[in-house]
């Protein structure tokens, strides 16, 4: 019934249109209070976009700070300007042209940024079935700050060495309940959260996940429910399981096993913008890849910059290496600064307009 439409896309377009339409309406409308109303619509839609990205905290902060802050704006707008029942602020054509020109310049800057920045392929749905687990995910402050600058590490995943029969488009466990050998990383991940424990496998076709029904500590096995959900779109993430290969600390050069597609490997840039993560007993270490050599038949090596790595606990033996290919979107930084300066100017201008008596006319007298 709804298969043709992705709900995510639908909500994205609805919120995006509301955000843009609200922003245009703020500029177009002349009544201060209507402006505030449209500002609420626009800012609230941006919060909706955050929720759509599963960034609950940022969305809530957007609501509390920006949308809630509009209340104060509204109250002051009324108190400072109220000379009649419905005041209007009329702008002259010259001002309109000037504002339009500056707005177009800003828009072109943003469009240019979006076009030139090489975004990572984020086709896969964000992994959100698991509640935030500090043991696995580490701290959120650093990823948040990095994401703000355009560096977008994917959350750490559960890596499992598992006998999975994967064929065709879907990976199905053949019998009613599958027994999968798990490693320590998974046990670290089985933290009780608000959402069920989920086993995720990263296959070449994409990600499959399934709900964990029970775990057996003695056998080191986990039983999952009988069906894997369908594979979500293939990401450019792939995994290397180094069973038995003891990694003490974080090595500068890591061995890559065979079996990685050359096309996948070629996506890894050598300029330090790609990152490698080691999931190690629930601790995650991240470092930037500076160089790699790879041959499809014999394997290869990976060189990382240890001075830039985000060190967590690195004791214990290595279980799995998880690649995350992210690029430094340095292009975002400049527009971010420009927009913030622009907002400051807008605030000052709004205060000036509000105080300027010359253009304030009561309704019906213009």
């Amino acid at each position: 019934m709804f298969d043709g439409i992705s709900g995510h896309d639908l909500f994205f377009w609805a919120f995006a249109l509301a955000a843009c339409g609200g922003a245009v309406a703020v500029v177009v409308s002349q009544s201060v209070v209507r402006m505030a109303f449209w500002l609420i619509v626009s800012l609230g839609s941006v919060a909706g976009l955050f929720f759509l990205l599963h960034a609950d905290f940022v969305g809530a902060a957007q609501l509390l700070i920006y949308v809630g802050g509009t209340i104060v704006l509204l109250v002051f707008g009324l108190m400072l300007t109220a000379s009649g029942p419905f005041l209007k602020i009329a702008t002259s054509p010259g001002e309109g042209i000037l504002a339009g020109g500056i707005g177009l310049l800003l828009l072109s800057l943003l469009v240019w940024t979006v076009m030139t920045t090489q975004a990572t392929d984020w086709t896969g749905a964000p992994p959100t079935e698991q509640a935030f687990d500090p043991g696995v995910a580490g701290h959120t402050t650093r990823p948040l700050g990095a994401a703000l600058l355009g560096l977008r590490p994917q959350p750490a995943s559960v890596l499992v060495s598992a006998p999975v029969r994967a064929s065709g488009e879907n990976a199905q466990m053949s019998n009613g309940s599958a027994i999968i050998q798990v490693d320590a990383a998974l046990r670290a991940h089985s933290e009780t959260g608000d959402r069920p424990s989920v086993l995720r496998l990263y296959l070449p076709q994409g990600r499959v996940s399934s709900r964990i029904q029970s775990m057996d500590a003695d056998a080191g096995t986990v039983t999952v429910s009988n069906t894997f959900t369908s594979i979500r779109g293939g990401t450019n993430r792939f995994e290397i399981v180094t069973a038995g290969n003891v990694l003490t600390g974080f090595p500068r050069v890591m061995q890559l096993p065979t079996g990685i597609a050359a096309s996948d490997m070629n996506k890894v840039p050598r300029d330090g913008s790609a990152m490698v993560q080691v999931l190690n007993n629930g601790q995650r270490t991240t470092a930037r890849i500076t160089d790699w050599e790879y041959d499809t038949d014999t394997g290869g090596t990976l060189t990382v910059d240890r001075s830039l790595m985000d060190t967590k606990n690195s004791a214990g033996d290595g279980q799995a290496v998880d690649f995350d290919i992210v690029r430094l979107g340095t292009g975002y930084l400049l527009p971010f600064e420009v927009v913030s300066v622009h907002l400051l100017v807008v605030l000052v201008g709004a205060a000036y307009l509000a105080r300027a008596k010359r253009r304030v006319t009561a309704e019906g007298q213009s």
Binding site: A60, V75, V136, A188, T192
Partner: protein, 475 residues
């Protein structure tokens, strides 16, 4: 029918080709979302239905009257329905001087923001429409939007009574949001989670394990929170925004019919919301406070199936009952206390409630250290729960960084909280150094390498965990 109880969520059941209906993923999610929303709207709409009747009945009794007696039998319990029918029939007026768009939109804003907050409310173990890790923060953020509708209604009516009401409401809300947020912080720092389900779960056990009896500061915070919550619902004695004896009807002077009733649906729903939130934060959420009963319910939940649903339904009834009880207290207050003046309202908040809540917030931060220093109770550690003595269970947040010791590797040992050698630097998994620094455990000197114990023993991770069975939420 057993399949629906075994499935983790409704969407999963609908997707399941064997037990369920075998629908496609997107169809299943859309249908499941609709079902969740319809269920929630019922809570949202039935709460005002009941509480308006309760308000009329209680106010009647307090004023030595009978209250409604005619509609629906002896107690007049269908009075709200009769009111609703009357309001639907009324003409929907919009004053010619009003800003018609804002005038028409304002009641919906009130209703929507009040309803949206219900989405994050856990009614029972795992029964949340949207299980968010920052649920409490989200509810506080969304509740702050309700005031927009009031201000817009007051402004757009083009009437001075309405404008006065709207402005008073704005001033009141902007001030009272501060102590409300600080009071909500108190359970957060005590339990160490913004997740409402975690907060509810942490209060299992005897009644003294409820957050309100956790320490003297949380006890006081509950009353401050309740006062502020009453004010944030603009209920008497803080109902300056409508103040019918001085402002005719305040912000809703110009409204009639269904739009008028939307304001009241929003008001009664958010009354219930803040009271249910108080029950979840302070009064043990879905727990009865009797371990015998709670353990039985938990066993039923763990068993899953129909009995698990029944147990959760009972838990929901308990949450709603606690919330309803607090709503009754609000009604009681409204009909027995005189209204404050606007300057008194502001003074109460700025001069008293904000300093008091700040003090309580500080106190609740200091309390764990104080408790550990003073008491000689033995401290044991299991999972995220730190047990002091034999009966008292509390969740202690680590001072910095990783807020919960998670997994075998993080392994915050019990010794880290030992009272013999604590010097304040006992956060076991420090963010900045990246190395676990277990304080020398006084209780377990025989263990030479506490930090690596769990890592060396791969089986230790399972011991204290129960697999999560039932999840009401779907994203």
């Amino acid at each position: 029918m057993s399949g629906i109880f075994a499935a983790g969520s409704l969407a999963e059941y609908l997707k399941d080709p064997v037990e369920g209906w075998g629908w496609s993923e997107s169809t299943a999610y859309v249908v499941a979302a609709i079902v969740h929303v319809v269920l929630l709207i019922n809570v949202f709409a039935l709460a005002p239905f009941f509480f308006i009747w309760l308000e009329r009945k209680a106010s009647g009794r307090i004023q030595d009257r009978l209250g409604p007696t005619r509609v629906g039998g002896k107690f007049g319990w269908l009075q709200s329905l009769a009111d609703g029918v009357k309001l639907i029939q009324k003409e929907d007026l919009c004053p010619p001087a009003a800003d018609s768009m804002l005038f028409r939109v304002a009641p919906y804003l009130v209703c929507i923001s009040s309803f949206a907050a219900f989405v994050f409310l856990p009614f029972s173990e795992g029964w949340t429409a949207v299980a968010a890790d920052v649920g409490l923060f989200l509810i506080v953020a969304i509740l702050s939007l309700e005031v927009f509708g009031i201000i817009l209604a007051g402004y757009a009516s083009a009437s001075k009574w309405s404008l006065f009401g709207g402005m008073r409401e704005a001033a009141q809300m902007v001030s009272y949001e501060i102590p409300l947020a600080i009071c909500a912080l108190v359970p957060i720092v005590t339990i160490g989670s913004l997740n409402l389900s975690d907060i509810g779960r942490a209060q299992s056990g005897w009644i003294i394990d409820w957050m309100i009896f956790h320490d003297p500061f949380t006890f006081c915070t509950f009353f401050v929170y309740f006062t502020v919550a009453t004010a944030s619902c603009k209920r008497a004695p803080f109902d300056l925004a409508e103040a019918e004896s001085e402002l005719v009807g305040g912000f809703h002077t110009e409204y009639s019919g269904m739009r008028w009733s939307f304001f009241f649906m929003g008001e009664y729903a958010s009354m219930f919301l803040v009271c249910a939130l108080a029950a979840i934060l302070f009064l043990g959420a879905w727990h009865t406070g009797l371990p015998v009963v709670d353990d039985m319910l938990q066993t039923a939940r763990d068993a899953g199936g129909a009995s698990g649903y029944l147990a959760n339904l009972l838990g929901m009834a308990i949450t709603i009952f606690k919330g309803g009880l607090l709503v009754f207290v609000q009604i009681w207050l409204r009909w027995t206390l005189p209204r404050l003046r606007i300057d008194q309202v502001m003074m109460t908040c700025l001069k008293y409630l904000i300093p008091i809540s700040c003090f309580l917030f500080l106190g609740v931060i200091v309390w764990p250290m104080l408790w550990l220093t003073v008491s000689d109770a033995p401290i044991s550690h299991e999972g995220n729960t730190v047990r002091i003595g034999t009966t008292r269970t509390t969740w202690l947040p680590s001072a910095l960084g990783d807020r919960m010791p998670a997994g075998p590797a993080a392994a915050a040992p019990a010794g880290a909280w030992s009272n013999s050698d604590n010097d304040g630097s006992n956060d076991s998994s420090d963010a900045e150094t990246g190395e676990p620094q277990p304080a020398a455990p006084a209780e377990a000197p025989e263990d030479p390498a506490v930090g690596n114990t769990a890592a060396d023993d791969p089986k230790s991770g399972f011991a204290s965990r129960r697999p999560r069975r039932r999840q009401g939420g779907q994203r």
